[in-house]
């Protein structure tokens, strides 16, 4: 018997909360939003849409630098934060 338990489904007795995923139309991924909830899934989506990312730290702050589509975007990160689907970092675009 081998079991790696997946994250359990949200109980039906709980109020479902949907994480604020970036609402980016398929043809607008070259325009990073001003603010977004960043998760591993979001980072994967950016990679899929032609971006690379790097991290930078300054003091206690984390920054995410997106590069692609002949431009760069920098986000200051707040987190980890939580919602009913797990944790995420809120990114605020600063450049």
């Amino acid at each position: 018997m081998s079991t790696v338990t997946p994250r359990p489904a949200v109980s039906t007795t709980m109020q479902p909360v949907t994480r604020q995923v970036p609402v980016i139309p398929a043809d607008r991924w070259h325009e990073p939003p001003d603010s977004l909830a960043i998760t591993a899934e979001v980072l994967r989506a950016f990679r899929t849409h032609g971006w690379t990312y790097a991290e930078q730290r300054s003091g206690r702050w984390h920054y995410l630098i997106l590069r692609g589509h002949d431009q760069a975007a920098a986000y200051k990160l707040i987190g980890p934060l939580f919602d009913q689907t797990g944790s995420y970092y809120q990114g605020y675009r600063i450049a």
Binding site: M1, S2, T3, V4, T5, P6, R7, P8, I38, T39, A40, L43, R44, E55, H62, L77, G79, P80, L81, F82, D83, Q84, G86, S87, Y89
Partner: protein, 216 residues
């Protein structure tokens, strides 16, 4: 040292003896009072799949920061292939005793956001520990004992089960029944050379603001 020194006073009373009017002091719940961490298990006892499911269910319903649930578990019942893969990476003292457990569980912590070194939750280890505590008590309710341990090759075990870098195999737990006739607490405390049930007093664990004396 007497048994009474090692055994919480309240634990010797039945939880049923508790009354709400304050006449009788509250007592430690029997599941908590009887819990201890043996290194000897009944080599013939086989846990059922239903028992394993129930132990995992206890973890599933543990609280966590923001309901982040930063845990996962690899379970191996003795004589199944997963158990063999788990025991292969036991080290130190656990290699000698943990093989006899009916169930081995590797406790995984979701430490980082995948592809980054951002912590997934600053409470991830705390929450995993709490989930494992729930498992031990559920096991206790099933008549099983549990021992948590760290004596395993973390790197090799992670490779064995293809655990990605953003997860960590933090600890393992061994579950099983005591062998027939094996003395249970508190009887074993009387013969056990080590003070298994010794705990700091409740006075010692009450932190008094501004009092830094006698705390190393």
């Amino acid at each position: 040292m007497t048994i009474a020194d090692r055994w919480p006073i309240g634990a010797r009373a039945s939880a049923a003896s508790r009354v709400d009017d304050g006449a009788v002091p509250p007592v430690l719940h029997p599941l908590l009072a009887a819990r201890w961490s043996p290194t000897t298990f009944d080599p013939s006892y086989e846990v059922t799949a239903a028992e394993v499911d129930l132990i995992l269910e206890a973890a599933r319903w543990a609280p966590s920061a923001g309901n982040s649930q930063p845990w996962a578990f690899i379970t191996g019942r003795r004589s199944d292939p997963t158990h063999a893969r788990l025991t292969r990476h036991l080290t130190g003292s656990s290699a000698a005793w943990a093989r006899g457990a009916s169930l081995l569980v590797a406790n995984l912590c979701h430490r980082y956001v995948e592809g980054t070194d951002w912590e997934y939750s600053e409470f991830a280890h705390y929450d995993l520990g709490q989930a494992v505590a729930h498992m031990t008590l559920q096991a206790q309710a099933l008549g099983l004992h549990a021992r948590q341990f760290r004596a395993f090759n973390r790197t090799a075990l992670a490779a064995e089960f293809a655990v990605p870098q953003h997860w960590e195999i933090t600890t393992m737990s061994a579950f099983g029944r005591l062998p027939p006739g094996f003395p249970s607490i508190p009887e074993s405390a009387a013969t056990e050379p080590r003070p298994l049930r010794h705990r700091r007093s409740s006075r010692e664990i009450r932190w008094v603001a501004g009092d830094s004396t006698s705390r190393d």
